[in-house]
């Protein structure tokens, strides 16, 4: 049923329809509304049977989830940013043990400096962990992806995180068509574990694996993710059959058929990009956009196919590897090796910096002129950066950079005569 609803609430309602049996979470902005809503549902008895556990840290949250999963229960949790880092050991552990936990990651920047706003640095921090990472463009897709996520995770025995932009999606109120219980039940059967702690059939889970076998165990995990490259589109297709909606899959293309330049991005910024693309198209530019939904496993083949024909690819992302460059851009470049296509990296929106349609229009114009640098930080306040560099050059005890920058920006906004 189509409802005007806050993104977090839509996720909570949808997760509840997936009949999780153990839900545990530790609060962190901007995921709090999701967990609060699920908690209320459990307490009122609307979501039952389900154990809702208030844990003492994110590390506990993932630990409780994986313990529950190992005992055969469908387990769910949610976190962001610092919380993800705090549970990182357990995140790797869940993937390594092959436990199909589903988690919402409300993408948020990682500090220091502390920042509660959206970017993708948290997801990037665990991209090698063995978790499947799916990025939602809208709240509709975010909700739908959770249903697909449980199905995918349990089929493959691989944990799945659904990434949705913190605040931008989680706290946006928009129309979401919520599924009904019957549809979800038909799509998502009860959890049938590959391994389970059962006194009737005792097994030891989590033993040490030495040099003789570790490589093979890791490779098997890799193969499971490669399997996911097939299962993700198949499950999305099945979802389409069940709901009439195209959510999920590996990549989405928009106006790429005859495009010279294709923009690549993940998450909610795709919406703004599409508006900018339409405007540039009206101005005669042959430009399109590809959204990556499945970041891990990385759909290299689908990416190559989607970008074939473009002479220039502009990867716009909300993350970067300090001292190196874009993260997604690196993966895209690797996929495009040998294609002759030029790849330009644009880092934008870090720490919640708004990405405006106007900025994108200017960026795309520049790209069309072939004037885009290899690595660009969109809307960077260059003078502020220069001032801090100068400060550091002049004085050893130049003070904390972040505070200096904030002070500069504060002074600027006050301006003369205000």
């Amino acid at each position: 049923m189509l409802t005007q609803i806050e993104g977090s609430r839509a996720i909570a309602e949808t997760v509840a329809l997936c009949r999780p049996e153990v839900v545990c979470a530790y609060p962190i902005s901007p995921q709090t509304h999701i967990i609060e809503a699920v908690g209320v549902m459990v307490k009122e008895g609307r979501l039952a049977p389900c154990e809702f556990i208030n844990v003492e840290s994110e590390f506990a949250a993932m630990s409780v989830a994986l313990g529950a999963s190992a005992a055969g229960a469908r387990a769910y949790t949610a976190t962001a940013s610092q919380g993800l880092l705090f549970m990182m050991e357990a995140v790797y552990n869940a993937a390594g043990l092959g436990l199909p936990v589903v988690m919402t990651l409300a993408n948020r920047a990682i500090g220091a400096p502390i920042n509660i706003w959206n970017d993708h640095s948290d997801a990037m921090a665990v991209r090698d962990s063995g978790w499947i990472q799916l990025f939602a463009e809208t709240n509709q897709e975010a909700a739908d992806l959770h249903v697909q996520a449980f199905r995918l995770a349990e089929e493959l025995s691989v944990p799945v995180m659904v990434c949705m932009d913190g605040f931008i999606l989680t706290h946006a109120v928009e129309g979401v068509d919520l599924l009904d219980q019957a549809t979800v039940d038909a799509f998502l059967p009860p959890y049938d574990p590959r391994q389970v702690l059962d006194p009737a059939n005792p097994v030891s889970i989590g033993a040490m694996v030495g040099p003789e076998a570790f490589q093979e165990v890791r490779y098997l995990a890799h193969l499971r993710q490669l399997d996911a490259l097939h299962r993700i589109p198949a499950i999305a297709e099945e979802f389409f059959g069940a709901t009439g909606r195209r959510s999920g899959g590996l990549v989405h293309s928009y106006r790429t058929e005859d495009a010279d330049t294709i923009v690549v991005a993940m998450g909610s910024v795709l919406g703004t990009i599409k508006d900018a693309v339409d405007i540039r198209r009206d101005a005669g530019e042959r430009i399109g956009v590809v959204g990556i939904t499945s970041f891990r496993p990385f759909p290299a083949q689908a990416v190559r196919a989607a970008l074939a024909g473009a002479s220039q690819v502009v990867v716009l992302e909300k993350a970067f590897s300090i001292g190196h460059g874009g993260v997604l851009a690196t993966d895209i470049s690797m996929a495009l090796q040998g294609s002759g296509c030029v790849v330009r990296e644009v880092v934008a929106g870090l720490g919640g910096r708004p990405i405006t349609r106007l900025s994108l229009e200017k960026l795309f114009y520049k790209a069309a002129q072939g004037e885009l640098e290899e690595l660009l930080f969109l809307d960077l306040e260059v003078d502020v950066v220069e001032r801090e560099r100068e400060r550091m050059r002049l004085e050893r005890r130049s003070g904390p950079s972040a505070e200096n920058v904030l002070r500069d920006l504060g002074a600027r906004s006050e301006g003369p005569g205000r």
Binding site: P49, G67, A68, S69, A73, D198, S204, G206, A207, V209
Partner: protein, 343 residues
């Protein structure tokens, strides 16, 4: 002259398979039908107190749980020696996740069993002192606070033994470890205030807290059984000497554990909902030296450059325990005996 009660040790002895006892009074281990939760073939050191304690504790838990039990294990000696790739010595469902999360993982297991209507299956979580007192402390406290239905057993060998004998918050003062070496003006571990996990557990007001040693295996089993009669968070702290880490003879593990109790350094007691309910009194009081001298980790207190002040300090700690828990009857206290000798 004071009267001393004479005790007969034959019945109610420490012997495991005492033929003089009725079946009901025998240990679980003496039962050929025991579950052998941790079976032979594990790779523990000769004389390992933890292997001994774990075997007794888990079989007792299994019997109390009608063989419906799941074990969660922290990283550490027990986990490592019980699952040498590609073998496992566990005959019960067993999960090892990480070093610091055994209590939280157990919470998850218990929740899953409950939601699936299998509350008949009980959960034991276990780890060494390192995982319990240090890195897993937060998740242990969380489990206690929620009163999750988990029995947590800490096998305390007073250090990070599996990684090469490093100091933990449970390492006693003066003890030599690789990170509190016997060098400098203050050799061995510092004299801090310690981290008394049993008392911290009691402060959470959980249903059952108890301490035990591998010197009295009947007592250990009985405490496990008692713990299993409760639902909610329960904590068992078992002293398990480590011949390697303590520098003791591998055939003296049980003897040393007994001395730890009898000198007062390791009080043995039970508590329910935050209040001590029973105390295992010292039978034959001994000065701490008798206990310390059997362990090379305390060798620097004696010998060529002795540190009698450290021994005195340790004795004071023992005396404080004796007083706090009432481990000796009034006329048997060190002070009283001292007075008696004087007269």
């Amino acid at each position: 002259m004071t009267k001393r009660p004479i005790r007969f040790y034959q019945v109610g002895s420490f012997a495991v398979g005492n033929r003089l006892l009725s079946d009901a009074e025998r240990t679980v281990q003496s039962d050929p039908q025991r579950s052998n939760s941790i079976d032979s073939g594990h790779r523990a050191c000769q004389g390992c107190g933890e292997a001994l304690g774990a075997r007794y504790a888990l079989d007792a838990a299994m019997r109390a749980a009608n063989n419906q039990l799941v074990a969660v294990n922290a990283t550490g000696c027990l986990e490592v020696f019980s699952t040498p790739y590609p073998e496992t010595s566990w005959r019960i469902p067993w999960l090892h996740s990480l070093f610091g999360n055994a209590p939280a993982v157990a919470t998850g297991v218990a929740a899953a069993l409950r939601v699936k209507g299998r509350s008949d299956v009980r959960v034991v979580s276990q780890g060494g002192d390192g995982s319990t007192v240090d890195i897993g402390f937060g998740s242990l406290s969380g489990m206690f606070e929620r009163n999750d239905d988990v029995l947590y057993i800490c096998y305390d060998n007073e250090g990070y033994m599996n990684t090469g004998v490093q100091r933990s918050a449970a390492t006693p003062p003066a003890a030599r470890t690789a990170t509190t070496d016997v060098v400098g003006p203050q050799p061995g571990n510092t004299f801090g205030q310690g981290k008394d996990l049993p008392r911290i557990a009691m402060a959470h007001d959980i249903p059952y807290v108890a301490t035990a040693t591998v010197a009295d295996l009947h007592d250990l089993e009985a405490k496990v059984e008692r713990a299993m009669s409760f639902r909610g968070a329960r904590y068992l702290h078992v002293l398990v000497p480590c011949p390697l880490g303590w520098g003791s003879a591998s055939n003296e593990t049980i003897h040393i554990a007994r001395l730890a109790k009898e000198c007062g350094l390791f009080p043995v007691f039970e508590a329910e909902y935050g209040t001590v309910t029973a105390v295992s009194k010292i039978r034959r009081p001994v000065p701490v030296e008798e206990y310390l001298k059997l362990q090379k980790r305390f060798a620097h207190l004696f010998g060529k450059n002795p540190h009698p002040e450290m021994v005195t300090h340790l004795q004071e700690i023992a005396n404080r325990n004796i007083e706090r828990y009432g481990l000796l009857d009034a006329d048997e206290s060190p002070a009283a005996r001292h007075a008696e000798v004087e007269s």
